[in-house]
Symmetry: C2
Subunit: 256 residues, 2 copies
Amino acid sequence: MATGRTHRPATRSRGIPEATVARLPLYLRALTALSERSVPTVSSEELAAAAGVNSAKLRKDFSYLGSYGTRGVGYDVEYLVYQISRELGLTQDWPVVIVGIGNLGAALANYGGFASRGFRVAALIDADPSMAGKPVAGIPVQHTDELEKIIQDDGVSIGVIATPAGAAQQVCDRLVAAGVTSILNFAPTVLNVPEGVDVRKVDLSIELQILAFHEQRKAGEEAVADAGAVPPAVARKQQPSIDQGPDGDVPAVMPA
Amino acid sequence: MATGRTHRPATRSRGIPEATVARLPLYLRALTALSERSVPTVSSEELAAAAGVNSAKLRKDFSYLGSYGTRGVGYDVEYLVYQISRELGLTQDWPVVIVGIGNLGAALANYGGFASRGFRVAALIDADPSMAGKPVAGIPVQHTDELEKIIQDDGVSIGVIATPAGAAQQVCDRLVAAGVTSILNFAPTVLNVPEGVDVRKVDLSIELQILAFHEQRKAGEEAVADAGAVPPAVARKQQPSIDQGPDGDVPAVMPA
DNA sequence: CCATCTTTGTGCACGCGTTCACAAAGACAT
DNA sequence: ATGTCTTTGTGAACGCGTGCACAAAGATGG
């Protein structure tokens, strides 16, 4: 346990900011690593460095959970691991179904970190009848027809969609109708869900495009710098030309 | 977001908010779909619905790019597709290397949406010598030893890391040293990179944990509601009890 | 040319998240 | 006990992002 017994449990356990929730898994991972190395306590500074965040932010994040630290010492690693796990709901078992066992679905099914923390792959589901019964990651694939039954029987509340974009909304609707209230969507589509259902999306294509944007910007600034310290603003200060790249890009004309 | 240099006078063409950049790919996708259906123009209201965002937000986002709409009419689909593509840097070709060809790496290599928009898989790299030469998605896997040569020869500036967590930082360092300035990280680790290098991470485990948090919260509220229409605030108004879950959770004790 | 109608572009206010900076809490040594 | 030293927890300020609400711009019809 902690050195001191000073824990006043969050006066406001309800209002944990979303941004904080999103960082808790990060802290938990860093803490788990420390735990495995049998490190007893850790300061906000050290832990923040390990998690790649600002230490003040980390302390404020933890303050939403309660006063779990000891001034002058830091945080008790084991205790904090438990508190965060509990806060995230990882002290219970979450059965998960994966729908769409293509390349990605199979990769997800094989993903080790899946089962490691409270999550259990309850079923793999695919629309292709020829997949049925075929084991992936040691679990036999079941046909889409079984979807509702599986969800209800196992009390599944979290679904992962790894189908092609065209099938995603339909699968989503069926999942929700069957009782799923949290969805992790890998299909490149916007999912429409009723109130009360959470959706998080993972989109490779979008991530790459964001990187491309910054990459282009870097290349542009670099080019300007190389060309001689000419403020880019001047070059663009001309007529508000239409087809002008962000940094003197190729003119290129091809609208419609 | 890598701070720029001394300039900033650009009327406003330069300062596109990060949040807006993150939504541009979403708009682009919706617009592309409209384009394929030969829809000539679209209003902010319609497009916003398709992209799953607020229409005012969409208009403000577009206003950072310029005045590309026509009042009373809407936006020209083809023109907007081109403008956003150009802004995101998708009018040029981005060679990408994928490091770590396990289940996930193979899935990424096979991902169609990859090549579709300006991105080209320049090489697949894996540390396992027995993988060398073996074709994945029609591309022969190359050994890690070739990493630097490939990046320099092809002018690769974007790298995708799909290795186990333990190898990620090392791979990252080599990528950066070889000239890569944008990294998409699928390994569950915090990557340390020098100034000027962008990192975006995709972490299945974190996403699931965030869902679990909300799921737990929903379950807790539901339980309280079922217990009789007692306002949750009242129930928690009591004495600040010690090991209390966020919503009257199970006590559960298991720190160590 | 004028009136009307639609839809954009944006000023403004608000709330969330981040960061700084510091008082208070506690450990530890003397 | 008392003083010193370390580190937490948080008040306050600031900046970013969001959404409202509306004036201005332009199309369209008479």
